[in-house]
Amino acid sequence: MRIKEKYGVRSPGSGVPIQSRGSVRGGLRIVLFTVSLLAASMALGDNSRTPTMEVIGNEVQCTCGCNAPLNGCPHIDCAEKAQMQALIKKEIADGKDETTILQDLSLKYGLQVLSTPPAHGFNLSIWILPGIGLLAGLALVVFIARRWKIKPALVSAGSAKPLDPKVLSAMEDEMKSTGMKEEPRI
């Protein structure tokens, strides 16, 4: 027999609330908290920086073929690294900002010198897709959760199998030993 699903109704078989407005609100709070934490992290983490050799050296790749950032080029006495560092040093001394220095370097060495592609055209997708993936994942999680919650399985009290006494005893021991009062968290 199906019962009309309402918030706060208890399943007659289990005695556990099917769902409540409180729990939905709680869930939404968690989602909002999660998303805002993520957004805040991304926004606050992106501090504007003064251009230094360390900052620029992490934003561009060494052109010697090592496939490492300029600061991380593993080659000793790397001529390309020295040349790039000299150019960056000169641009910093000239008072140029980070964006201008990166533009100058990409004009001289090509787009691949930048550690991340500039955010326009097709390259924009590198930044957009992870965000879309994240939101699509969130939508999927919410969808699954709602789907599960809308159709609660009703099991009559009489149909449940009695728990094996040994299992019951093990669970009770465990609950006692860990001081649990709510649900057993094994």
């Binding site: 099917i18 934490l37 097709f122 094994i186």
Partner: protein, 674 residues
């Protein structure tokens, strides 16, 4: 020996192909005889591949340079330690090594299940040997390490033995490189076992509790080994590459991280299936994804489709792997769709504030991270195909995307275990979260007052304290109860508590390890460095450290020549240590490397590199990094490893449950027999 190797390779291929077919036929016909035959063929596969490995190692160790692989990757003066490691230094050897590890895992599975899981085993063997057949084909026909060295002249090619070999890549001549690739490979290859059990369960429709229990255990082992391998790789990069870091978001590093992340997601979501009978389709998908990413990682490392500082062995084997990946995906996804009816959830979600929803969020973030890293790693290839422009996707992109997600995961590490199954009340949330949040908040205020302004670093410390307090509180509450009820002292109570439920408390120890890792990562925000030209008497000040050069010496060993800087370090005016960074020149390969001097402490590492000799002045180019909290990364890795080992020890409750299950199975069998 080349002949011995080649014959054993072809024999192993025959065994693998036979076991693949016999396993499937044995399963279909339910024939014990054919299944046993497939299992014996699997053991034969193991023996033949082992013989091939012994043959190759013998040639490397005895300097038999008739063998092209030995001549390419070893030399007479190479230390024995590194000669052993030459097995996985090149393409052919590393693929043979991969196949050997697969044969070991397969033999272990056959031996372990000789008297159990008999319905699953035919297909488990078939899947394992399907993978074995692919790798045997590859090793024999495409990347055979038993090629003879040939001298080509106008008269034609003739067998030839080089006087000496080219030597091992100098960058690989570091102690952790001897153990890092085997660990990583054990992790990659090990993911085939859960995949095989998953496929067998789908084929036989045996999708109850059994396969998920086996799969969880068989995922934990490679997950642990893969994680250890990743950290050892970081340790190698830190000590050998000389740029002062341990993780650069290189494609090959990313390739190893991907299956580890999806494996982590599975190890969490599997708990929902075990406790509540939910997320069955999701768990099967995660097992498939993790295995797919393991093979993808090998493909990425070997094919050279993306450039990498770690790509030591590349060739044209990419298309073979691409086809194999396609087969895996087609076979497993088709099977999954065919069995959707058997994977229906047994329970429903009672509340959004519950352990189940915590795991859902954990899986969401982990999978989003997998997608972001996967996308960033492959983007240069996609961009080249779409726009014909060469772009680079480096550390800034990955840091921007992964750090916020990592912080969310860190939060869930502490919050998740505090949520109860089914539903957590507001009172319970308040009771569990108040103290950790207050303590973390206080520490956050202190850190801010002390000048910690980097947002990510501050957030990491705040969340780390929050998680640590949550975990300590769990141990504390449990121990107090035991002290009260069982009259045990504190230490005995902690021990008994842990051993009664190793899985739960081992999991907490793993979480402590993850916290330590994050604290170590946050240290990167406070890195300082300095550089100077130095000869005897010169002084360089970096942070609180003053480095005085006591001279530059040169030396010679059979394997390499070196220049060594002798540096005395004082910290805040007091004697601290002496350090000897070297620049080496390897004779066989004619390549220079740096040998970094590191003085590690818990608070920071002093990291000194002799980058070279300035041609104009003859002085040593000394680069110094002060890297805060790096030791916490290695410590975190060790704690994670210990926690995983602990959670694999059967606890008292698990043993009791196993006994109950066994007695129930015996009863059922007796009933069937009757």
């Amino acid at each position: 020996m080349n002949q011995v190797g080649s014959v054993s390779l072809i024999a192993s291929l025959a065994f693998a192909a036979f076991a693949l077919v016999a396993g499937a036929v044995g399963g279909k016909l339910r024939s014990t005889r054919i299944t046993r035959s497939a299992e014996r063929a699997t053991l034969g596969f193991f023996l033949m591949i082992t013989l091939a490995v012994v043959a190759l190692e013998y040639m490397i160790l005895t300097n038999d340079f008739h063998n092209a692989y030995a001549a390419e990757h070893s030399n007479r003066d190479l230390a024995t330690f590194y000669k052993v490691a030459a097995l996985w230094a090149g393409q052919e050897g590393s693929l043979l090594f991969w196949t050997w590890l697969l044969s070991i895992y397969s033999a272990l599975v056959v031996w372990q299940n000789r008297n159990k899981n008999r319905q699953l085993m035919p297909y488990v063997v078939s899947v394992l040997m399907g993978v074995g057949t692919f790798f045997s084909l590859l090793v024999f026909f495409v990347a055979n390490p038993f090629q003879e060295l040939n001298l080509v002249s106008s008269a034609g090619a003739r067998a030839y033995s080089a006087a000496d070999g080219n030597g091992l890549n100098p960058l690989l001549q570091y102690h952790s490189m001897v153990i890092h690739p085997p660990m990583l490979y054990l992790g990659y290859v090990g993911m085939v076992v859960p995949f095989a059990f998953c496929m067998a369960a789908l084929i036989t429709r045996q999708l109850g509790d059994n396969w998920i229990r086996i799969t969880r255990r068989w995922t934990m082992v490679p997950w642990m080994l893969l994680g250890t391998g990743i950290l050892l790789g970081g340790n190698w990069a830190y000590a050998v590459l000389g740029w002062g870091g341990y993780w650069g978001w290189d494609p090959v590093e990313n390739a190893s991280l991907l299956p580890w992340l999806s494996g982590t997601a599975f190890l969490h979501s599997v708990m929902i299936q075990e406790k509540r009978g939910m997320l069955k389709i999701w768990n099967v998908s995660l097992v498939i994804l993790t295995f797919f990413l393991s093979i993808f990682g090998t493909f990425l490392t070997r094919s050279g489709i993306v450039s990498s500082v770690h790509a030591f062995a590349q060739s044209q084997i990419g298309p073979f792997f691409a086809v194999f990946l396609g087969i895996i995906l087609f076979f497993s996804v088709t099977l999954l769709f065919l069995r959707l009816d058997h994977l229906k959830s047994e329970n429903k979600l009672d509340s959004m504030v519950s352990r189940e929803s915590g795991f859902l969020f954990n899986n969401w973030i982990l999978l989003a991270l997998v997608f972001a890293v996967f996308w960033g790693t492959l983007f240069p290839v996609i961009s080249k195909a779409v726009e014909n422009t060469t772009v680079t996707v480096g550390a800034p992109f990955f840091n921007k995307v992964a750090i916020p997600m990592g912080l969310l995961l860190l939060f869930l590490t502490g919050a998740g275990p505090l949520l109860a199954w089914r539903k957590t009340s507001f009172q319970s949330l308040k009771g569990n979260f108040t103290v950790p949040l207050v303590v973390a908040g206080l520490v956050g205020v202190v850190l801010f007052a002390k000048g910690v302004r980097d947002f990510y670093a501050w957030m990491t410390f705040f969340l780390s304290v929050f998680v640590m307090v949550c975990i300590v509180a769990e141990f504390w509450k449990g121990a107090l109860t035991r002290m009260r009820l069982a009259k045990e002292n504190f230490f005995v109570a902690i021990y008994t508590l842990t051993m009664r439920n190793t899985r739960r408390y081992g999991g907490y120890v793993v979480h402590i390890g993850i916290v330590l890792l994050f604290i170590g990562f946050a240290g990167q925000a406070f890195k300082t460095e300095g550089k100077g030209l130095m000869q005897e008497g010169d002084i360089l000040q970096v942070g609180n450290y003053m480095l005085r050069c006591d001279g530059l010496t040169t030396g010679d060993t059979p394997n390499y020549e070196y220049t060594r800087a002798l540096i005395t370090v004082t910290k805040n005016g007091e004697a601290f240590t002496t350090m000897h960074p070297e620049k080496r020149f390897y004779k066989a390969s004619q390549q220079p490397t740096s040998h970094v001097a590191i003085h590690p402490t818990l608070s920071e590492d002093l990291y000194v590199v002799l980058a070279g000799i300035d041609q104009d002045t003859g002085k040593g180019i000394i680069q110094v990094f002060v890297n805060p909290l790096v030791s916490w990364v290695w410590l975190g890795g060790l704690v994670t490893l210990l926690g995983t080992l602990l959670s694999m020890v059967p606890s008292r409750i698990e043993r009791e449950m196993a006994e109950i299950r066994q007695s129930q199975e015996l009863t059922v069998q007796a009933g069937d027999a009757y």
